[in-house]
């Protein structure tokens, strides 16, 4: 702990520098010059705060999470905007200001006690409480209390619930339209054809036979439509065999060879399974459509109650997840389970889409969703 104290004393200097620079950056942001300053100082301040969170977590023996809003996939300017509206950024700033006097007082006391041999006893007994006090103060600045965390959780849940309801309503409308235009229309036509055949059977048996054969073809087409609708709701192989086999079955029908690896230990909760399946299906469809890839792969892992699926391809890269409605839909659907999607797709490839979904229903979900990013 004395080592922590020394380190904190050293880090107090850059903390003050970062504080000054950030305030300057904010002031100058209006005249553009401040923006690049902020682009450098905000991540630096986060790194510094992160070091102190870890030290505080070590001293206090309990995690001190970093509840920043997620910025994955955002452009540099968007990221700055998200960071500016993130209350945690402002708490970081306040902490930077407080860090110097705090470090000087606590760390110096600890170090002085340590250096003077006479006060060795005081050092032995005194360091613990002092560092705990210091860490508590750091924690107070650097992470949210239970109430604030729950408030944020409510905001996230309200948003994802709305998205989920929207998604469900859209899906129902799509299914209704598919049934109406497909199987329903064909069955109506079938009824008419059969009626005509009935009408003709006495006068023109040959014509009636033709009508019947036509009717049989229509039933085939209607069944085909229904199969497509069923597949869009819940693919039968997924119901029969679970996620990995369903993805394997799907990959057999793709033009690009897909290697499916990994195992999911047992059947996942059905909604998670289904959301993950459609997410992978969307990713693979994108690979087939846009990537110009020779090879793709899907890798499943489950550890500590989180299902991770990586869909990769050796195509040309440059995929932007905010371009396609499909990928946005995937992200929304996963968000309902506190799942996340991150895309890494440099120009020239390879493209890697990582999907993470908590799948252990017993795991507590009181951390903000960004905790799982």
């Amino acid at each position: 702990m004395t080592g922590y104290a020394g380190l904190q004393l050293l880090l107090a200097v850059p903390a003050l520098v970062l504080f000054v620079l950030q305030v300057a950056g904010l002031a100058l942001a209006a005249v553009v010059v401040g923006i690049p300053i902020l682009m450098v100082t905000v991540p630096a301040a986060r790194w510094l705060a992160g070091r102190h969170r870890r030290m505080a977590a070590g001293v206090l023996g309990s995690p001190v999470p970093a509840p920043y809003r997620p910025t994955e996939g955002a452009s540099a300017m968007q990221r700055l905007r998200i960071q500016a509206s993130d209350p945690m950024s402002w708490r970081d700033l306040a902490w930077l200001l407080a860090a110097l006097p705090l470090a000087v007082v606590t760390s110096l006391v600890v170090l002085v006690l340590f250096v003077l041999v006479v006060t060795g006893v005081a050092w032995w007994f005194g360091v613990g409480p002092i560092m705990v006090a210091r860490s508590r103060i750091d924690r107070w600045f650097l992470t949210f209390g239970t109430t604030e965390r729950l408030e944020q959780r409510v905001v996230v849940l309200t948003e994802t619930r709305n998205q989920t309801l929207d998604h469900a309503a859209t899906e129902l409308r799509r299914i209704e339209r598919d049934l109406h235009d497909g199987a329903q229309a064909r069955l109506a036509g079938l009824g008419m054809t059969l009626g005509m055949a009935e009408d003709l059977v006495e006068r023109d048996p040959e014509g009636a036979r033709k009508m019947l054969s036509e009717a049989r073809q229509t039933t085939g087409a209607a069944l085909g439509d229904l199969r497509a609708v069923v597949h869009g709701i819940h693919p039968p192989v997924l119901a029969d065999r679970g996620l990995v086999s369903a993805v394997r079955a799907l990959s057999l029908d793709l033009a690009v060879p897909v290697e499916v690896t990994g195992q999911v230990p047992e059947r996942l909760p059905p909604p998670v399974e289904s959301a993950a399946y459609f997410a992978v299906a969307e990713c693979l469809a994108n690979v087939a459509k846009h990537a110009v890839a020779n090879h793709a792969w899907v890798e499943f892992t489950v550890s500590e109650g989180v299902l991770t699926v990586v869909v990769g391809d050796d195509g040309r890269g440059g995929a932007n997840p905010s371009d396609g409605t499909g990928m946005r839909g995937v992200a929304r659907r996963l968000a309902a389970f506190d799942g996340t999607m991150t895309v890494s797709s440099p120009r020239g490839g390879p493209t890697l889409v990582t999907l993470e979904v908590p799948c252990d229903s017993s795991s507590p979900r009181t951390l903000p969703s960004s905790g799982t990013v």
Binding site: R216, T219, G220, L223, G224, R227, V230, H231, P236, V237, A239, D240, R241, S245, R248, A249, L252, D253, L254, A255
Partner: protein
Amino acid sequence: MRLVLAEDLALLRDGLIRILEAHGFEIAAAVEDADSLTDALADPTVDAAVLDVRLPPTHTDEGLKAAVAVRSERPGFPVMVLSQYVERIYARELLASGQGGIGYLLKDRVGDVGEFVESVRRVAGGGTVLDPQVVSAVMARQEPIERLTPREREVLALMAEGRSNAAIAGALFVTEKAVGKHTNNIFTKLDLPLAADDNRRVLAVLAWLGV
């Protein structure tokens, strides 16, 4: 010929019984769930089975599992598997043992009674009949068998659907002799060992499915 029939929907079960009995098959047992299917298949006097993939109790793939199980007991036991949907992964599992006598069709195909009965006969005789939908899914992909000419691939696809040389000749508007030449080329190019024609046809389809 004595058949075991497994189908959980009474309407379809009755329809299948009617069609099969009208065409000279004897239904040894018509069952509606996986447990009674296992019992019915234990009867050594049955010659073949017509199974629905989805059966009670779990309504997943009981019929498929029963088909694989009975064929590991009685290798080559002819099974026609019917389903509301077809998956290539299931076709591969059914054929993985390398033996013929497998049919895998959409239930829609039962509507074409003549063709369906003919397929059951072919499967009972050790042939392989795959649904055109499975076949077209394989055709749509760039398969590793690039040594085959486009015409040979067409012939192989029809072979997978269980067509005879005469039927293939009819579908492609060529003579039966020409089809025979194509099939021989296919067998040679796939390095299939000399064997009875039926068996080589099964092996060719297996190679093509990527089993």
